[in-house]
Symmetry: C2
Subunit: 410 residues, 2 copies
Amino acid sequence: MTGGDAPVRVGLLGRGTVGGALVDLIAERSAAVEGATGRRLEISGVLTTSEGDFETILEGADVIVELMGGTTTAREHVIAALKAGKPVITANKQLLAQHGAELFAAADEAGVQLRFEAAVAGVVPVIRVVQESFGAVEFDKVFGIVNGTTNFILSEMASTGASYEEVLTRAQELGYAEADPTEDVNGADAAAKMAILARLAFHTPVDFEQVPFEGIESVQPDDLAYAKELGLSLKLLGVAERFDEGITVRVFPCFLYPGHPLSPINGPFNAVMVQAPEITEVTLSGPGAGGTETAAAVLGDLVSVVSGEAPVHAAERELPVLSDVESSFYLHLEVADEPGVLAQVAKVLSDSGISVKSVVQKGMGNDARLVMVVHRCSEALFMEAVGQIGGLGSLRSSPRFIRVIEEVFV
Amino acid sequence: MTGGDAPVRVGLLGRGTVGGALVDLIAERSAAVEGATGRRLEISGVLTTSEGDFETILEGADVIVELMGGTTTAREHVIAALKAGKPVITANKQLLAQHGAELFAAADEAGVQLRFEAAVAGVVPVIRVVQESFGAVEFDKVFGIVNGTTNFILSEMASTGASYEEVLTRAQELGYAEADPTEDVNGADAAAKMAILARLAFHTPVDFEQVPFEGIESVQPDDLAYAKELGLSLKLLGVAERFDEGITVRVFPCFLYPGHPLSPINGPFNAVMVQAPEITEVTLSGPGAGGTETAAAVLGDLVSVVSGEAPVHAAERELPVLSDVESSFYLHLEVADEPGVLAQVAKVLSDSGISVKSVVQKGMGNDARLVMVVHRCSEALFMEAVGQIGGLGSLRSSPRFIRVIEEVFV
């Protein structure tokens, strides 16, 4: 960015929690920014629903910060800013996940920066690490806990034994969950973040629509209780993985064995692991949200925009997004407590070539709980086997299952 | 960096493990580098003890990568390269820790980049995160496990009960410790890394000489056994902390309570935590060494140098480096198993205003072990009290102590 000693004029779109925190932070850290970049930052205009005119703000700004949210007006404004040759910083994950191709193309064409560290994993600097530190690395896998609300809920359910509904209410009281928590708890928020991460990590277009997601709404306290007996902890994971034939990008609740670097991540935290042969694995963790933390990520992007030019992301190839992959599963069955049920279930699995790793069986009056973990197998094959098991006469309710990550790290 | 479509000529000083891995990696990742930067990398010259002439290599290079080690010739070459207006990338922590002021000034004057991600924490991108992601953040504390050799040794001692000497031999066999492990095990390597981190985090000159360090050579298996009873794990920590009056930068073995984000970091891994009000805390972890991993960090720096200009570090202030700080301590005493010994020890501590958090006492024939953890107190005060306790007639050997971090994180 050129301009000598004049202040860098920041046009701010949206002044909610993050926008307000950013205004404060820019004032507070003014000397530090000047120390790092040689330039001062100055808020030259603010657009809210009640004040400001976008055209005027755009004209008077050297850089646009989009914190308004949504994918309609935000998209128009970001595209307009990029086309006008103004660098853009945004924290808007759905905008990037749904319109990434268009936005990156506009930034590329104008030759200006589009930065979005705050859009994924809050203040955890995963975007910069993937794009810059490891910009020439061929990742095998990028995965982690990218939604703090659901991680808080799952940690609380595991430690207190309380139900999903009880803990969600508590999370809302503590400000860890929004009044309408749908996008967090159903996995859509994590899916948008994983679409962005997969695009950067694999240099291929990935849209939100290509990311299947499952949430945590149907997780039962007894899944967590049984899991504890099996030594497992439950996380909502986003996983982007590269295979010879293409990539997979998915979000699902998943059990981890102890020793996995993500299993100690509790509460409203995020953590992302990146893996590649030349770096082995690197893990980044920290608070996933919070107005000040998100604003700090935006400020980091502002400092980078002022300091110089970074590569604009451009998709270099189009990798197919695969649907069937292999997973290990936890399977929870409520069955009649009568002889032969385990044998029936075991036969279905065995006929499908699915091998059982561990089983816990407990009687409860006439009924019993049969909980098992099966080794890695094709997900399609597993779903078919579960369908057959669901049809057995001795089943008291529909089978429940949750994926398990088997690998144990050092 | 200017130059259109011509390849970027890399002058390589040193071709040991890391240098060799870098040459391979540049060949292997050639397309990815070109995708990220629009330029190809080309090794234009290599200086080893048996081949190459520095002046010729410098003249024919656009960027110099220093992987020769040492602080004499390496320093001359790096200074010469910077003065010639060539960006420099180095993995040489002692060079930066001992001559940082001179090197940063030379880079600043020439207006070229000096990058050194590989010098601290291997492939864990802590330098970039401190300098760029959080370039405008006022850190309170930057600390962590920055030496993989000692972390491997301590993990192994804790899990096997073996002695320091036995585990060191094993580490050497596995390639986790060098034939001469002195700088790793005595804390000097970690101290150099902490000098670099403290300089960047606090924007103040910090030299290696200002960093007091203790190593792990005198850690006894029974310290680890007692620690297990107290629920503690032992790490060699580097800690850089900011107080109102100045900063402290130190390296020492230290016990952590369970739940601390660094306590699950085992084996030859590194992990660094950065804390500031606006980011709460962010933790980065990954492999601390390895030729390919270190080369990957150098390649990341090369990509950044080719992509554009980043801020050159310049000290903005001179903060005093403090000596006395507060710590919590583990204290290990071998005493005569006779009445009143605990009372004597307790009186010394109490007279010094030091309060005891927990005690384990065990008889062993005529002798007993008295192991305790005391709450945070002035280190000077604690050392004085330990001196007095050492003079008690009932002591069988000199008191041993290890610092403890009391805070438990989520």
